[in-house]
């Protein structure tokens, strides 16, 4: 019920036009990691909400613990409705390291929505990708890494704002990123970022 209301509300706010450029969709054999540009707290849940039901039920957004664990309502949404994987952004230790958490989820057969930039950028620009995505790929190569480009969401809920403004947003899914053996970390991160940004240019 809350799930339906929440997705309905999100749809009213964002219009959520969805494009699938990839071929692998819609019945992937492997688990998937959707990685996207990050500009708003709503990013992860928007991708989650536009996925078809059979994929959505086994896809978990990766979200910041400090934001989504703050109030009861957010906690309820993130844990009960979209089963977010809450990760620590500031106090990372060996035990709670995000990458460990994420590989566990993938091992369990669930897919992930992941934002390689880490914290949200200023808005328009897509920042450089942090090493997290590379860690994930090297620890779990047996997944499909799908680039996703989000447009306009930073305008719906810009940094520092609490109240959203409705705008039509687009979510573009691309082809799974081919993994190349012995690719250096920087090359890989650069290629991954290009894969996301290319979806923007095709619009």
């Amino acid at each position: 019920m809350i799930d339906l209301l929440f997705r309905g509300g999100l749809r009213l706010l964002t219009g959520a036009q969805t494009f699938w450029k990839g071929e692998a969709y819609p019945y992937p054999e492997k688990v998937q990691v959707y990685f996207a540009n990050h500009s708003s707290h709503l990013d992860a849940v928007l991708i989650w909400s536009v996925l078809p039901p059979e994929l959505r039920s086994k896809t978990r957004p990766v979200a910041a613990r400090d934001y989504w664990n703050k109030y009861r309502f957010r906690r309820h949404l993130s844990q009960k409705v979209f089963r977010a994987v809450l990760i620590e952004r500031t106090h990372c230790t060996k035990e709670n390291h995000p990458v460990l958490q994420l590989t566990e989820v993938l091992d369990g057969g669930d897919s992930l929505i992941f934002f390689p930039e880490g914290s949200r950028g200023g808005g328009e620009e897509t920042g450089t990708f942090k090493s997290g995505l590379h860690h994930l790929v090297s620890r779990f190569p047996d997944a499909e890494y799908i680039p996703v480009y989000l447009e306009n969401l930073n305008r719906v809920l810009p940094k520092g704002e609490v109240l959203p403004v409705p705008l039509i947003c687009t979510v573009t899914f691309g082809n799974a990123l081919p993994l190349i053996a012995d690719e250096s970390r920087n090359d890989f991160l650069h290629r991954a970022r290009e894969a996301v940004l290319n979806l923007k240019r095709e619009l």
Partner: protein
Amino acid sequence: MDPQLKILLGVIFLLLGIASGIGRVLEKRSEKANAVIRNLNARIKAWWVMCIFFSLAVLIGPKMTLVLFTLMSFLALREFVTLIAPGRGDHRALFWAFFVITPLQYYLIGIGWYGLSMIFIPVFGCLWMPIRNALTGETEDYMARTALVQWALMICVYFVSHAPALLFLDIPGYAGPNAKLLFFLVIVVQMSDVLQYVWGKTLGKHPIAPSLSPGKTIEGFVGGVLSASLVGMAMFRITPFSWWQAGLFSLLICIMGFFGGLVMSAIKRDRGVKDFGSFIEGHGGMLDRIDSIIFSAPLFFHLVRFYFS
């Protein structure tokens, strides 16, 4: 239910049924997948949905009609603001526009407070938007940004709200719910759009505004406006007008509707898009569908109020 309304709805859905039938026959006859026919069928399908929603809302009552129009304004505003591509400095003002000013405008119309509903957005809304924008301290493009937010409110909310305002007019000697008057306006406007399209596709040769909208032709305009006016004239029994008054009103509605489409085309050209959105399959966005109502509703409302109320 009002007997005239019953007949009206019967005719609308009968025509839709015929259109669907023709669409299906055309689709079967053409061997390869024909884009024009597919688009036509998508449009007819969307017409069904729109007619059902609109009829239901109007039948349930004026309050439901207002809810429907509030939603339409909300979606139109969402499309318009998306084209503006607002910056950080507009955020708070836009929040007001969507969640405070839009519902309040329809609330004022619903409680029948004519005076305030007519000045609410042009005076108070247009005073508050520049103030709220100034309070953010963001000065880059301040004038253009503020003007756009004001204009968005006028086009997507204020002008549109004149259509449901017809429901709250007190017209002496007019029997039956004012819903029929709203139906009159909407049917004439939409028939004009459809007939202009049909005349333009069949006979259209001379573009009327090639730089704005190459699809619009003189033949389409004249044929569409005149034939839609005849349709409006034929409906005079459901209105408080005599037959020639209904014809004149229809002519005016059609011409304003045409200009509405032209203005919206100019906006889309300016921003380099073809449609305002993809909300209604085959029709584009909400604004693409209601552009002619936006421009005809205020004029129709005030003329009816002046001469008949």
